[in-house]
Symmetry: C2
Subunit: 594 residues, 2 copies
């Protein structure tokens, strides 16, 4: 952290890249849009050791202003841009993984970019540098993979512009990576994000010192335009919340910075500092090249599902709740497209005040870092699994997973709605089920599902299941979840659209004890245990219904109740005599009548 600015951004600042290696690929190298480069150099750094099988290589893709120096190589080294995440024993553990990070094509930190010398003209490219795309960046990383003698990546990981590279990797070289971890990304930049890039570029392009991009030979740089572009970009990396926290209390007390920009307000002096520092280490032509690559990126040209259908890896998408440059909604869209394409994917939307740059901040690191670590594997056995043993785990008060397993065949695919911390998924996996997916609203539960190695989608069931195609699962499970949802009909419709059958477990409001209590005490009834044990004003249930209500609800809608298990949760025994009165918990299997 820079004490003057309170920013973590200086983690990205210019340093001699003492550990960077370079590899040069002779050309001509043909780019995606048809132009060629006579030769391409890629600067990269590596951390940790490749294992004997060559199976532990992880590629990190940096963001717009990053470089190959992702973390310290030793104690004496400068911190890298992701030092909080990458290193020995850290979330991306360099004692376990062989980590590779290369400067992007078009950049200005060692790899070929507009500031490189064009060997054919013996002068810097400047405006003659061809338009590069995110796919071209990935193609250079593909060449680096070969140069390093690797057959595939254990994982490709990237945030922001790095997220776009990761997406491109997943669909462009599907057999060359096992995992893709897309952080704070989107299938394309929003119109608003694009607009900010345009304004930033205009500030550079119309800076009189830009000279049409040929400023290198003029002995001047378009520093003002580049600084303004950087200030503008910087605002989009922060959230309104974090800006308010940083700059409201001392609004009229600018930091003491030496600048020719306005410093009337604290936020102004901060931006001036960011702008002034940026031009010391970044090339304006690279800024233009990389933002254009970002702006041109459009995964599948709008047909995300087709694009993702080529992928073969497992996906984790992390978004941040206050990110407005790549809003969480975009990660939801991509998750939906991946799921519709039948691909294994998890999505977590991390509650954070940090905006787009949250992935660089120590706040919430335990959660988002934990998710990164969990996704890289291997699965962990969580302490909760120990007691009770997994084979007879209670999944709700008084409800034993064994009752469900009677209704589910080994080898069936199951969607667990409201999957909690994943213990049911664990039991289902042990039962022989495959194609397991969970949906969960709680972020901590999502992390635990990931730690157990399951795919989990962070979503509110009241919004339906648009992410799942029809008849996608053999079974959709709603274990003591339906009564907590408001949109009952819509949710049940979705269960039967997405699954060949549904299994719904719910407390029976017609249970004898409840009837008697209402009759005799005149109070909203509660039981001594289970979901109906809390008082009326604290009960998490939003809908109350009996076995009779459920049967009628299903009959009225052409839903067939195939099998039912009636339980007395006090004894954990099945009820055979008049379940309407004697069962306090019901498990039913439902299907849509033909």
């Amino acid at each position: 952290m820079n004490p003057l600015t309170g920013s973590s951004d200086d983690q990205r600042s210019a340093r001699p890249l003492r550990h960077a290696q370079k590899v040069t690929f002779d050309g001509p190298v043909t780019l995606v849009r048809g132009e060629t480069l006579p030769v391409v150099t890629v600067a990269y750094e590596t951390y940790g050791e490749l294992d004997a099988e060559g199976s532990n290589a992880v590629l990190l893709c940096h963001a717009l202003s990053g470089d190959s120096h992702v973390a310290r190589h030793d104690e004496a080294d400068d911190p890298g841009w992701w030092d909080i995440v990458v290193g020995p024993g850290k979330y991306i553990d360099t004692e376990r993984f062989f980590v590779v990070c290369s400067n992007v094509l078009g950049g200005c930190r060692g790899s070929t970019g507009p500031g490189s010398v064009d060997p054919e003209h013996d002068q810097r490219y400047g405006s003659r540098f061809p338009t590069v795309t995110v796919e071209d960046m990935v193609d250079m990383q593909r060449r680096l993979l070969g140069h390093l003698g690797l057959s595939r990546w254990h994982a490709v990981i990237g945030a922001s512009l790095g997220a776009l590279q990761t997406l491109a990797w997943g669909v462009r070289y599907p057999d060359l990576l096992q995992r893709a971890l897309v952080i704070a990304g989107g299938p394309t930049l929003t119109a608003q994000g694009l607009a900010f890039d345009v304004v930033g570029r205009n500030a550079i392009l119309r800076d009189p010192r830009f000279h049409g991009g040929q400023y290198y030979s003029q002995g001047c740089d378009p520093d003002v335009g580049l600084a303004i572009a950087r200030m503008l970009g910087h605002i989009t990396y922060l959230s309104p919340e974090s800006m308010a926290a940083k700059f409201t209390a001392d609004k009229y007390s600018p930091r003491d910075v030496d600048t020719d920009f306005e410093k009337r307000f604290s936020v102004g002096s901060y931006l001036a500092y960011q702008g002034d520092r940026f031009v010391e280490r970044f090339d304006a032509n690279s800024y233009i090249a990389l933002t254009i690559a970002m702006d041109l990126f459009d995964l599948g040209d709008g047909d995300l599902e087709s694009a993702f259908s080529r992928s073969q890896c497992r996906w984790l998408l992390l978004s941040f709740a206050t990110d407005w440059l790549f809003p969480p909604e975009q990660s939801r869209q991509m998750t939906e497209a991946l799921l519709r394409a039948g691909k294994p994917v998890s999505h977590a939307n991390v509650q954070s005040q940090g905006g787009h740059d949250a992935f660089l901040l120590p706040e919430n690191l335990e959660r988002y870092g934990g998710m990164i670590r969990a996704f890289l594997g291997p699965p962990e056995a969580l302490v909760d699994d120990a007691s009770p043993p997994a084979e007879c785990v209670l999944i709700g008060p008084g409800l034993d997973i064994q009752h469900f397993l009677k209704l589910i065949g080994s080898g069936e695919s199951v969607l667990d709605l409201g999957c909690g911390d994943g213990r049911v998924l664990r039991a289902l996996a042990d039962h022989g089920c495959a194609g397991l997916v969970g949906v969960e609203l709680d972020e901590g539960h999502v992390l635990n599902c990931l730690r157990r190695g399951f795919d989990v989608v962070h979503a509110d069931l009241n919004q339906g299941l648009p992410m799942f195609g029809s008849a996608r699962f053999d079974v959709v499970l709603l274990s003591q979840t339906l009564q907590s949802l408001v949109n009952t009909e819509a949710v049940v419709d979705e269960v039967l659209r997405v699954g060949r059958r549904g299994i719904v477990a719910f407390p029976n409001f017609g249970y004898r004890e409840l009837r008697q209590r209402l009759l005799e005490t005149g109070r909203f009834p509660r039981t001594g245990r289970g979901p109906l044990s809390l008082p009326w004003y604290e009960c998490p249930s939003r809908r109350f219904f009996s076995l009779r209500d459920w049967e009628e609800f299903c009959a009225d809608r052409g839903i067939r109740v195939e099998r039912s298990i009636y339980l007395d949760t006090e004894t954990n025994r099945e009820v055979t005599d008049d379940p309407h009165l004697n069962a306090d918990l019901v498990i039913t299997t439902i299907t849509r009548q033909a």
Copy 2:
């Protein structure tokens, strides 16, 4: 609308101000920050006729780039910036009101600004122009009030920078206006909004053609910097949603505009057009002066309640759901401060995709225009009042207002939570109650409350009542609302904090028929009428409780049930015999035990 750009923004564009009048006030005029101007000219236009009592004058305060030309003066005239709202028979009806709009101090459309000639130096002010504040703008409008021979404004209305002027009017000249209508405003600019202004100003200040603000004599203008500032500002006026709707489908098809700015993308060509047009009609020094005035505005320097305590007018705050320049949360904060200061205020958050500029768009005009019209008065008698007659209006299925009126004294102040369309407020007013305020979640209901002439706050009761001070009302009414709220305890706490007593009407879940139905049918019980008549999966209730539950709930929390009315809603009669069994609806008066 400009067909090329799809923007309403050209409504603001440069035209000869054929109808503008000017008045000059000889100085020295001392500004708020101590500097003086030797003379000040105010350009203004008027619409409609002043009535004999001089009581129908309405001041409109324009936004950053507006001017005095708010609407057409005749058919042949150019449209003004708010032609959709202002005119004969329109929402601000110039057949009823004498409408005045003046160009702000510091502007460049007729009133004194940095481009005006400084008589003491016989050249334009340029950078010598003093720092003006929003309060200075208002002081010039105060002078105009006197010049026009008016004693007070019926209303002052403004959006954006105009909203800040309106706020300043309300607290600076409290006895000179009867109503203040603050649209898309805030007590101060957010840190994020301030940051955008800083970047825009830096683009101008560091434009080599700016010459420290003395460009007038150099035969050049800082057009590039001003255009970039304008592009940036423009993005903040639109919502992400409206930008996506405008620019996503034709992303790669720029409009055919003649510009030196980038036009690779449709949004780029649009911004280029906006920037290029803006510099034709706006002065860079004015842009700097007005944005600084906006940035310096800080109502009450953080102590909003003290600032508002001086005001004497009635307030209406309109925010727009997708406005991120002055987010709706800021209007909520101001509403809370006004209410805590005991001032009459309404707030409506208009559901709109239009962002900050929504007040210029025809979308939702019927709603936000309707609110403006309603606020200007007089109150309307709504059709709904006709049947049943107001004196015995049913306020819920089977529930007659007369039962409430027995519990409320004439002259008492009442807060109606979940006030619906205001018919209870109407009945309470007829009953002689004063200090009536409603809280309502539905926007259409909010509009109807305004049309009836009541103060209403657009809010979700589950969030509590932070906007009301303790013991603010004699009575807080929760008429068949509590059972729809989830946070029961918190809401009841708030009722008893804000009111000297609460009156809570709720369906009795212990009603004999409900007990019997559950016992006999084993179904979640429903009645033939009232709030419990819907099936379990459609019922709007979220909490179910009986009279007995309620009594216990109150007793456990030191809440005294003072009086109760037990009703049989089928007969609309009071129940005297065993209300636990025989009443289907209960009205109780509660107080906090000392």
